[in-house]
């Protein structure tokens, strides 16, 4: 990607995750080449089973044991390969330099401890802060716009609303000023008006901290609002990546295009929505050739037998016969 002058913060090179060590076992994700530059937000979109969460977990080596043994490739963070790191080094990076927010805040928070307790745990590891732990915990809650933060420190997670809990998770994730935040569907469990506010807050915090963000979602509205670049996944592979405007205005992959066209909008009501026939393949029965060819309106003989490669450039596509036309606004 020629237009970047600085080196990427993180670079995945030919990363793959198989179900175990056996080279013939099915791969959840494969041939993943992905770079994230400092300060940018990369949207990772795909349907369930496309491998987007597996990719996020592979970045920080939080995969289940079986998948961990099937992990291959390189993840270069500051010149070092995350996949070769020892336990101590991984622990230092996780939660410190690379932090995560997951879909369900109750899965991240411990129900039997107060949120003050859980915030202080993260703060204690942070040598850079000034003031007492208590003061810093209050400041952390203030930064995620929680009203009367002092009183909230004594609350347990169940005493807060879903949106409030997710903001606490955000506060904990950001206590150690990470350089990369992996947000895996952080707003899917929230109501729409609460989602709107949480996205606003995330954007604001990101700008202030100058951190990069990998935003995993299936919602194109969220992508349009949050992301600078978009990576589209289908059946375990990256099928297209590029700047957010290019992806929305001139999608090159037939899948991206069809997916964008099938999303209803508030502006107009067509008689029918354009659809993609069939459903995404499961890990066990992914087709030969291009993974998308059974559902592609433009599949040709070559697509059925030969897997396309992701081409080079800032707007890359994995397709033998990519699209090259503007997508009309409505």
């Amino acid at each position: 990607m020629a237009e970047h002058l600085t080196p990427p913060l993180l670079e995945m090179r030919n990363v793959g995750v198989r179900l175990g060590r056996d080279a013939n076992s099915p791969a959840l994700i494969e041939n993943i080449d992905l770079s994230i530059w400092p300060g940018e937000t990369v949207g990772l979109v795909g349907e369930s089973g496309s491998g987007k969460t597996t990719l996020g977990m592979a970045l920080v080596r939080l995969l289940p044991k079986l998948l961990e043994t099937g992990l291959s490739g390189e993840v270069i963070y500051e010149g070092r390969d995350v996949l070769k790191m020892g336990k101590a080094e991984l622990t230092r990076i996780r939660g410190g330099e690379i932090s995560m927010i997951l879909q369900d805040p109750m899965a991240s928070l411990n129900p039997i401890f107060t949120i003050g307790n859980q915030l202080r745990e993260g703060l204690r590891l942070n040598a850079t802060g000034t003031g007492s732990l208590e003061e810093r915990a209050i400041a952390a809650l203030e930064s995620v716009r929680i009203p009367s933060p002092k009183a909230r420190l004594d609350n347990h997670p169940h005493q807060m609303s879903g949106g409030m809990r997710q903001r606490v998770v955000g506060a904990i994730a950001l206590t150690r000023a990470p350089r990369l935040l992996i947000a895996d569907e952080p707003t899917t469990s929230l109501d729409v008006t609460i989602q709107y506010q949480f996205l606003d807050l995330l954007k604001d915090l990101q700008k202030r901290a100058g951190m990069a963000m990998l935003f995993i979602t299936h919602d194109f509205g969220v992508v349009a609002r949050m992301c600078d670049r978009v990576v589209v996944m289908y059946a375990g592979q990256i099928v297209e990546q590029g700047p957010v405007r290019d992806i929305f205005r001139r999608p090159r992959h037939w899948y991206t295009r069809a997916l964008l066209d099938s999303v209803p909008t508030v502006d107009y009501a067509p008689a029918r929505l354009p659809t993609i026939a069939g459903s995404p393949p499961t890990v066990a029965d992914r087709p030969a050739g291009c993974r998308f060819h059974p559902r592609c309106p433009n599949a040709q003989a070559k697509c059925r037998v030969q897997m396309p490669v992701l081409d080079q450039g800032s707007h890359a596509v994995r397709c033998w016969y990519p699209l090259d036309r503007e997508r009309s606004a409505a």
Binding site: I194, G221, V223, L259, S262, T275, I276
Partner: protein
């Protein structure tokens, strides 16, 4: 309104809950009026806790209203004879959000779809089998799928089965409670199209409950917007989704993020949290989050006032007396 197939008049449901040993009333739905015309779709929009699920249950006669009435073809459902109640059950069919919990895993698809048909007197086994095949094909599956079990199908296919079951008894009304929320994006459009086709083909009336204004725009003719158990705005889907009048509807519209990176900033972005329905604010229920509130809002509950596009909204700003 005359000719409505399913209506609610002054509908209310109060739950008694115990919190910290104290008995409290939870007003899940209050003073709700609505009419569904045959063959039309009424969208019900709101966030969690707004009462849309309670409304759905009352309209399905699965829950008894505390006040007011549900009317079916103009007749009060509280007075239905057992036979008429059976008739109602055939005529009003639900499709739920999650097809993993709404289909019995131990029944074959054919049995699942045939179950509502077994209540129809005089229907032979052959006629039932024929009808099962017919509805399976109507939702884009194969008649031979009747022999298979739900676990052999994907989420999208299961939702098709749930829809096939709902239309098997040739209902007049489908009650759709977030039918595509649990589906993948490429599957959503398929399901929405099927629902629209079936509606055209069978002249079905639909209640479409959702939190997503974009899908409601596609499916619905008219829309009611609910907040803390009350209707705050009603109007055509077009008016609600393009020129809403109530500040809450505007916030919902702003929160329906458009799939367009160059979309303009929202006029009235949402702020604050939904208050507890156990302790609803006085006056206008939305005043705690409304950027346009003024002194009248926390004292007096607004009545429904007409909106420019032929709808109505419960907001003091629309009161002609207020312009003085």
């Amino acid at each position: 309104m005359t000719g409505a197939i399913l209506s609610a008049r002054n509908l209310g449901r109060v739950f008694s809950v115990r919190q910290r040993g104290r008995k409290q009333d939870l007003h899940a739905v209050s003073d709700l009026d609505m009419d569904l015309m045959p063959g039309k779709t009424l969208g019900v929009v709101g966030e969690s806790g707004c009462g849309k699920t309670t409304l759905n249950r009352m309209l399905l006669l699965l829950d008894t209203p505390t006040t007011g009435a549900v009317l079916f073809n103009g007749a009060d459902c509280a007075d239905l004879t057992p036979e008429a109640r059976q008739e109602f059950r055939r005529a009003v069919q639900p499709v739920f959000q999650n097809p993993f919990s709404s289909l019995d895993p131990r029944m074959r698809v054919g049995q699942i779809i045939a179950e509502p048909l077994s209540t129809i007197p005089g229907m032979t086994r052959q006629a039932i089998a024929l009808r099962v095949g017919e509805v399976l094909e109507a939702v884009g599956l194969k008649a031979t799928d009747a022999r298979r079990f739900p676990n052999e199908f994907s989420g999208g296919q299961r939702q098709r089965i749930a829809i096939a079951r709902a239309i098997a008894s040739k209902p007049k009304v489908l009650m759709l409670d977030e039918p595509v929320s649990s589906q993948d994006i490429s599957i959503r459009a398929q399901i929405l199209n099927i629902l629209k086709d079936l509606q055209d083909e069978y002249g079905l009336g639909c209640i479409f409950i959702s939190h997503d204004l974009a899908t409601v725009r596609f499916m619905a003719d008219d829309v009611i917007v609910m907040y803390l158990g009350r209707v705050v705005e009603r109007g055509t889907a077009r008016a609600i989704c393009t020129s809403p009048s109530h500040p809450y509807t505007k916030a919902l519209l702003a929160a329906a993020l458009p799939p367009d990176p160059d979309a303009p900033q929202a006029e009235l972005p949402p702020q604050g949290e939904i208050p507890s329905p156990l302790d609803p604010p006085p006056g206008c229920p939305y005043h705690t989050r409304c950027p346009l509130r003024f002194d009248r809002c926390d004292k007096e509950r607004p009545a429904m006032h007409p909106t420019p596009h032929g709808g109505a909204a419960a907001c003091h700003l629309l009161d002609p007396e207020n312009r003085a």
